[in-house]
């Protein structure tokens, strides 16, 4: 607990260039990921969860993105101040990332083993045959049946689930300390999603890596994460250990989001919807960005963003205490 986290994102603000100037996509986000931790980041479209993740490896287009504020410290080094060269060493090496759509992340004209070997040889001195051998081992490790033969296939020959396994193999090729998984199962069917989540869980234990899992799906988060960060419209609204968050969500947005998820049990005849819609980054909302949709909003919520409150062990929420009390009565 006392040791510095593996990755510490502090007060991160990310802005994008649009016609009219700069819009703020992510504002004041702070997230810690400890050694071996599995942190889930949950939010709907426009919450800033992917923008935050892409900032870690500096994968935004530099011409249209700026980071006016914040730091992202990985093992003592601020990635926002690192040189391109040192970032290249970290990307795919100590920090790896997998994305939602495996087809657009794979090169269609290279075989599976060629692209895995490429990753390995980028980071380690290894002969072509040894890298290929290692690629086959990795395919085996991600439970691809008949790995030796599959290694020579092109991506289009593989199903969506198999492609995502290849992406995972590539991500773990250099034994990363941190794996960032951005909606890794969203494009997959539900039975395949369950297989990939199980694979990630097993690999996390085998390899002892930390994982940052980004998802819009509270079910996936509940199943996989140890601690959860809830984001809304570019800001973190609540953070808590997973059991605590699902047992006692505090922020009115978190409460609303959980209530809106259709359940496989219970006898509700209607879904509980959050009225209104998610604001875009160009919309200037001076106070809490959820206030226009919030049933508990106070006058002060509309004027300035509320400060972060500690409401339990490791449980923080950006909502004034008066509103929290209201939430309690209803929760």
């Amino acid at each position: 607990m006392a040791a510095a986290p593996l990755l510490a994102i502090r007060d991160l603000t990310v802005q994008f260039r649009v016609d009219a100037g700069w819009v703020t996509a992510v504002e004041g986000v702070s997230i810690d990921i400890g050694e071996g931790d599995c942190v889930g980041v949950v939010g709907e479209s426009g919450s800033g969860k992917s923008v935050t993740a892409l900032s870690i490896l500096r994968l935004h287009d530099r011409a249209t993105t700026r980071i006016p504020n914040g730091s992202i410290v990985f093992k003592g080094q601020d990635l926002l101040k690192s040189s391109k060269r040192s970032l290249r060493g970290i990307r795919g090496g100590e920090i790896a990332m997998i994305f939602q759509d495996p087809m657009s992340s794979l090169n269609p004209v290279l075989t599976v083993s060629e692209q895995i070997s490429e990753t390995i040889q980028q980071h380690q001195k290894m002969s072509g045959t040894a890298a290929r051998q290692r690629a086959v081992e990795l395919l085996d490790l991600v439970r691809i049946p008949d790995a030796r033969r599959r290694a020579d296939d092109y991506p289009h020959r593989l199903s969506g689930g198999m492609r995502q396994r290849v992406m995972v193999a590539m991500a773990i090729a250099c034994r990363p300390r941190l794996l960032i998984a951005d909606e890794p199962t969203t494009a997959l069917d539900v039975t395949i999603q369950a297989q990939i989540l199980e694979l990630l869980r097993e690999l996390r234990q085998e390899l002892g890596m930390s994982v940052m899992l980004i998802s819009h799906d509270l079910g996936v988060i509940a199943e996989f994460a140890q601690s959860v960060v809830v984001m809304y419209a570019g800001r973190v609204v609540e953070q808590a250990p997973v059991a605590q968050l699902f047992r006692r969500p505090v922020h009115p947005y978190t409460v609303g989001l959980m209530a809106a998820v259709p359940k496989l049990d219970g006898d509700a005849t209607r879904l509980s919807a959050i009225p209104g819609r998610i604001p875009g980054p160009q919309e200037d909302i001076p106070g809490c960005r959820f206030a226009p949709r919030c049933g508990f909003a106070l006058n002060s919520c509309l004027q300035a963003p509320p400060p972060t409150e500690l409401v339990g062990e490791l449980h923080t929420v950006r909502c004034p205490p008066q509103v929290l009390a209201l939430g309690d009565v209803n929760g």
Partner: protein
């Protein structure tokens, strides 16, 4: 007449010819599909990719022809000889709502005009009555009347889906095929649209075929559920039975695979394998290579959808034996 089904599907087959390096091969997207949709109910059609659920929905509204089998709507057969004429006769009573509300609206048309278009084509109303009807439709789906002059890009995904629903209601249909209508939407928006569809059903007495991959959404809106796998229906049952006691091993596996928003939930082991290629489907039951309860018979003999109890049908040798 009260109990006559609105939709009757019998022995429906659809074969697509797929071209590849070695020539063309038949892909059996639907294989002997049978189901009914009764007036006022919502039949939830669920399955994973390649199960044939969208193909079935498209054939039902006449967007693509069937290869074999029959489809009857409101008692008139829309497949085979004279099918086209029958379809024309019932066309205005059925509608389709697609998954992607971004693709379903013409970006260069004001949304009010998009909603008015079916009225214009039907040609029954004067210009003034049309604009009254559009205002009425906007109100019905919970959109401000003044927004009729705006363009689609000014709306969020959830609002666009409301516009698409308003348009589908323009000609007072009785039956709407909703193909993944909320899959592209965020959770908080999804809830609004599912509630809207349920309210509209109550108010207007609509009948839905609700196609989706999300079992939890289907549970909320459906009266009965049909589960599809690799081109066939494997189980149909009233909603309460299928979720409480799934019979087909695939239905059970599908339910077990859904991640629950409850960290204390311990899930059953995940089934292995993937949906088979429909170009080269397994012999016998198409689910047998993944089935934890597979028997010798399943490898050779295709199980037929048969009654299991009064309101429920299962295509599985396990249940055929018990009956």
């Amino acid at each position: 007449m009260a109990d006559a089904p609105i939709v009757e599907v019998r022995g429906l087959k659809k074969t697509f010819m797929v071209s590849h390096a070695g020539g063309t091969s038949p892909l059996n997207a639907l294989d002997d599909v049978n189901f009914d949709v009764m007036p006022g109910e919502t039949l939830g059609l669920v399955g994973e990719s390649g199960s044939g659920k969208s193909t079935a929905g498209r054939i039902l509204v006449g967007l693509i022809p069937a290869t074999a089998g029959t489809v009857s709507l409101f008692g008139r057969r829309i497949t085979g000889r004279d099918g086209a004429a029958a379809l024309r006769a019932v066309r205005s009573r059925l509608q389709f709502v697609f998954q992607d509300p971004y693709a379903a609206l013409n970006p260069r048309m004001r949304v009010g005009s998009s909603v008015a278009e079916p009225l214009e084509i039907a040609g029954k109303l004067s210009r003034r009555d049309r604009s009254d009807r559009v205002a009425e439709l906007f109100e019905l789906v919970g959109l401000p009347k003044i927004s009729t002059d705006r363009y689609p890009h000014e709306f969020s995904g959830g609002q666009r889906q409301r516009i698409v629903i308003a348009r589908s209601l323009a000609l007072n249909p009785d039956f709407i095929v909703c193909d993944e209508p909320v899959s592209a939407l965020d959770v908080s928006m999804q809830a609004q649209i599912v509630n809207l569809l349920m309210d509209l059903q109550q108010r207007l007495g609509l009948t839905y075929l609700f196609i989706a991959h999300d079992l939890a959404v289907v549970r909320m809106i459906s009266t009965r559920v049909a589960v599809m796998y690799a081109g066939s229906i494997v189980e149909t049952a009233p909603k309460k039975d299928i979720y409480a006691q799934p019979q087909h091993p695939y239905t059970k596996a599908l339910l077990d695979a859904v991640p629950r928003p409850d960290p204390a939930f311990v899930r059953a082991p995940v089934i292995s394998g993937e949906v088979p290629s429909l170009l080269d489907p397994p012999k016998g039951c198409r689910f047998h290579p993944r089935c934890p309860l597979v028997m010798d018979r399943c490898r050779t003999e295709v199980p037929r959808l048969a009654a299991s109890g009064t309101e429920r049908q299962v295509a599985c040798h396990l249940f055929a034996e018990r009956n």
